[in-house]
Amino acid sequence: MNYLTEKVKIYPLVTIRFLFGLMMVIGGIRFIINDWVDKLYVQPNFFFKFYGFHWVEYIGDDYIYPVFYLMIASAIGIALGLFYRLSAITFFLTFTYIELLDATNYLNHYYLVCILALFFCIVPAHRAFSIDQHLFKLSPNEYIPRWCVDIFKLQLIIVYTCAGLAKLSPDWLFDAMPLRVWLPEKTATPLIGWLFQYAWVPYVFSWAGALYDITIGYLLLSRKWRPYAYVIVCVFHGFTHLLFNIGLFPFIMTLMTLVFFSGDFHKRFYRFFGFRRMQNKTLHYTNVFVPILILHFVIQILMPFRHHLYASQINWKEEGYRFAWRVMLVEKSGQAIFQVTDKATGRTTEVENRNHLTAFQEKQMAIQPDFIIQYAHYLADYYRQNHNFTDPKVTVTSNVTLNGRPSREFVKSNLDLTQINITFAPTKWVND
C-alpha cells in the first residue's frame, strides 16, 4: 500500500488529462461532421445490445445530438480542468451511454476510452494547471499519490500485452492473415505503398506487430529504453494510422503513453511553456478507490483470457472475443438469410434484412452469433405484430468466411432461433 500511495509528481497526469480531453473533443466533432450520429444512431430502427445492457434505451432522434454536444462540452471541461469532476463524470456517462446503445459499433479503443474516462473521474487531475484552481481557489499541488498515475500505465500495458498475445496464432504468424489481404490494398499509400506489392512484407509486418505489442509496455517502463520505445510508439502508430481506417486509436495510444515519462520530464515541458511557479505541496488525496481499482485490474487481467473457458476457436465463434483487446485479427464476412414461418398457419417469408438493419449492421450481424440471435428474436416479434404470425419460427441460412478460407455454414440451419437465448454457456447453435 505504501508504494501505491507514496507521492509522485502530478505533471504526467495533467498532460494526459489535457490531451485526452482534446482528443475527445476532436473525436466528438469528427463524429458529427462525418454524419456518423445520423448513420449509426438516427437511421437504424433496431439496435444490437451488449449482454446485460438490454435496458439501455435510445434517447430518441431529438436528443441524441444534445448528448453528443454534452459529451464534447464535458471533454472541453476535462482538457481545461473546468468543473473537472463534473466534466469527467459527464463525459464518462455520455460516452459510455453512446457506446452501449448499439453493440454493432463496438471497437476496442472505444472500450479503452470508457475505462480511461472512468479513471479520470477518480483522479485529482485538476490540481495543477486547471481553471478550477483559480475558480475555486484550490491550492496547486505538485504531488499526488502514485496510484493516480500508475493506473493509466498499467491499463495501457494490459492493452498492449493482450493485443500482442492474441496475435500469437497460426493465422497471424504463419499465414500473415489478415494483413496479407489488407496490405496489398494499400499500394497507393505515400512513401511506403510500393512495399506492399511484395508477398513477404505482410509477414514482416505481422511479426513486427506482435513483437511490438508484447514488448512495448515494458520497454516504456524502463527508464533506459523509454526514449527509444517512444520513438517506436510514434513510428508504429504512425504506420497504423496511414494504413488502416482506425480513427483516433493511433493518436490515443501515442499521446496516452506519454504518461510513462517521469514527472520531472513533464515538468521541464511545463517550464518551457512558461509555467514557472511550481508549488512543492502534496495533495492528501483519498485512497478509498484503491481497493476498487485492484478489483478492476484483476478483472482486466482475467477478461482477455476468458475465451480459454470455451473449447471453440475464438475468431470463429467469438466466445469471449469482446473486451479482450483482440484487434486487427480477423477478416471475416458472411451472409445470413432469415426465414420466418408461422407454425400455426404455415405462412412463410424470407426476410429483407435491409428493411430492418442498416448495411453496416447487417454486415456485422452476419458474423456475430449473439447478434444473429438478437435479430431473430426481433424478427419473431416483428412478424407477430405486423403480419399476424401467431407462432413464429425463425431459421437462418448463414455462411461465414474467416481469414481467406472458403465460407462454411455458420449457424446450424433449420434451428428455430427463437428457442435460443444468449447466456455465457457455449454457443452450441454455431458450427465448430
Binding site: 459499433n105 494499400k186 499500394t187 475468431n315 451472409q335 442498416t358 478460407r405 472458403p406 465460407s407
Partner: protein
C-alpha cells in the same frame, strides 16, 4: 504469463490472394473483348430504336409501331449485357438507374405527358428509360397506341425525349470507355477498393443481386410473406421479363468466364471441388431451373410458383459463391456495403 492460443482454425488454409498476379492482360481482355463491344452493340441497338421512334412519331402506323417494338426488344435485351458495368462513366451518368429503373410508375408518366413538365436529370425516378417505353408502347393494344400517338404531340415528344436521354447517357459512357477512362481501366490494377478488378467484381455481384432480388424475388413474393407482386416484374407490359432475365444471367456468366482464370491462379477450393467448378456448376443449375419457367413471369409467379421458387433458391445459393467465396479467394473486399465508421 504467456498464454498462447493453440486452437487454430481447421484446414483448408487461407487463400494466397492474387500475390504478384499481373492483371494487365486480363483487364485489357475484359475491356476489349467484352465491355466495349457490349457497350457499342447496345449503342447501336439504341440508335436503331431511336430512328424507329422518330419514324413512328412522324408517321404513326401499326407497321411502324411493330418495328419500334422489335427495336425496343433488341435494345432492351442488349442493355442487360452492359448493366453490370455500372461504375466509372456509367456511375457518373447514373446509367442503370436512368435506363432501367423498374417497375415504371405509370401515374407519374401519364402526368408527365399531360403536363409536359418533367426532368429526366432527376436521379432515381421511375418515369424514363426502358421501363417507361415498355409502358408507353405496350400498355394498350396496337391500334389504340397508334391513335394515342397520332393525336397527342406531347406523347410524341415524351417518347422522343426518353430515347434522347438514353442516347445522351449511352454516348457519354461509350466515349469514356474509348477514351481516358478506358486507358486508366487497363492500368488501374490491384485489389484495393476502386481498382478496376474490384469495381468489376463488385458491380458484377450487384447486378446479379438485382436479378435475384428485383427481377425474381420481389415479384415472386419471397420477401413479402408469399404475397406475389406480378406488376413488379421487369418489362411487365411487353412480357419480356424472362427473356431479359435470361440475357442478364448470360451476361453474368460471360463476365465470369473471363475472370475464372483468377480463381485458377489462386487455386480456390470449395468443399471437395474447385470454386471455379462450383460456380460453373451453379450457373448450369440455374439455367436448368430457368428453362422450366413459362412466361410471362408476371403470370408464372402465381401459376408456376413452385418452379419460380426453385429457380430463386438456386439463384440465391449462387450469391454465396460470388459475393462471399470469390472475393475472399481473391482478397478483394465487397465494398458496395461501406463501413460508415472506423474499425479496429
Amino acid at each position: 504469463m504467456i498464454v498462447v492460443s493453440c486452437k487454430d482454425e481447421k484446414k483448408p488454409s487461407s487463400s494466397k490472394c492474387l500475390d504478384g498476379y499481373n492483371q494487365t492482360t486480363l483487364l485489357n481482355t475484359l475491356k476489349n473483348t467484352l465491355i466495349i463491344p457490349s457497350l457499342e452493340q447496345h449503342q447501336d441497338k439504341l440508335s436503331t430504336l431511336s430512328s424507329s421512334i422518330t419514324t413512328l412519331t412522324a408517321n404513326p402506323t401499326t407497321g411502324n409501331l411493330s418495328a419500334t417494338k422489335t427495336a425496343f426488344k433488341n435494345a432492351y435485351l442488349s442493355f442487360q449485357t452492359v448493366a453490370q458495368y455500372d461504375f466509372g462513366p456509367a456511375e457518373t451518368v447514373d446509367y442503370r438507374t436512368s435506363l432501367n429503373n423498374f417497375p415504371a410508375d405509370k401515374a407519374v408518366i401519364d402526368n408527365n405527358i399531360n403536363t409536359g413538365v418533367y426532368n429526366f436529370l432527376i436521379e432515381g425516378t421511375f418515369d424514363k428509360g426502358y421501363p417507361a417505353l415498355d409502358y408507353l408502347l405496350y400498355a394498350n393494344d396496337a391500334s389504340t397506341t397508334v391513335s394515342n400517338i397520332q393525336n397527342n404531340e406531347k406523347f410524341k415528344k415524351y417518347l422522343r425525349d426518353i430515347v434522347a436521354d438514353m442516347t445522351t447517357r449511352t454516348t457519354k459512357v461509350v466515349d469514356a470507355w474509348n477514351g481516358e477512362f478506358g486507358t486508366s481501366f487497363s492500368s488501374n490494377s490491384g485489389t484495393a477498393a476502386g481498382t478496376s478488378l474490384s469495381q468489376v467484381i463488385n458491380n458484377w455481384n450487384k447486378n446479379y443481386e438485382i436479378t435475384k432480388r428485383d427481377r425474381i424475388g420481389i415479384p415472386a413474393g419471397v420477401l413479402s410473406v408469399g404475397k406475389t407482386n406480378p406488376k413488379n416484374v421487369e418489362a411487365y407490359y411487353s412480357g419480356l421479363s424472362l427473356a431479359l432475365i435470361d440475357a442478364s444471367i448470360d451476361a453474368s456468366e460471360s463476365l465470369y468466364n473471363k475472370i475464372d482464370v483468377l480463381l485458377a491462379h489462386v487455386n480456390a477450393q470449395k468443399g471437395d471441388k474447385t470454386l471455379d467448378a462450383t460456380i460453373k456448376n451453379q450457373f448450369a443449375l440455374i439455367k436448368g431451373k430457368f428453362a422450366k419457367l413459362d412466361g410471362p413471369l408476371s403470370q408464372a409467379v402465381d401459376n408456376d410458383k413452385e418452379d419460380v421458387l426453385a429457380f430463386y433458391k438456386d439463384a440465391t445459393q449462387m450469391v454465396l459463391y460470388t459475393k462471399t467465396d470469390l472475393p475472399t479467394a481473391l482478397c478483394i473486399s465487397i465494398t458496395y456495403t461501406e463501413n460508415p465508421s472506423d474499425s479496429d
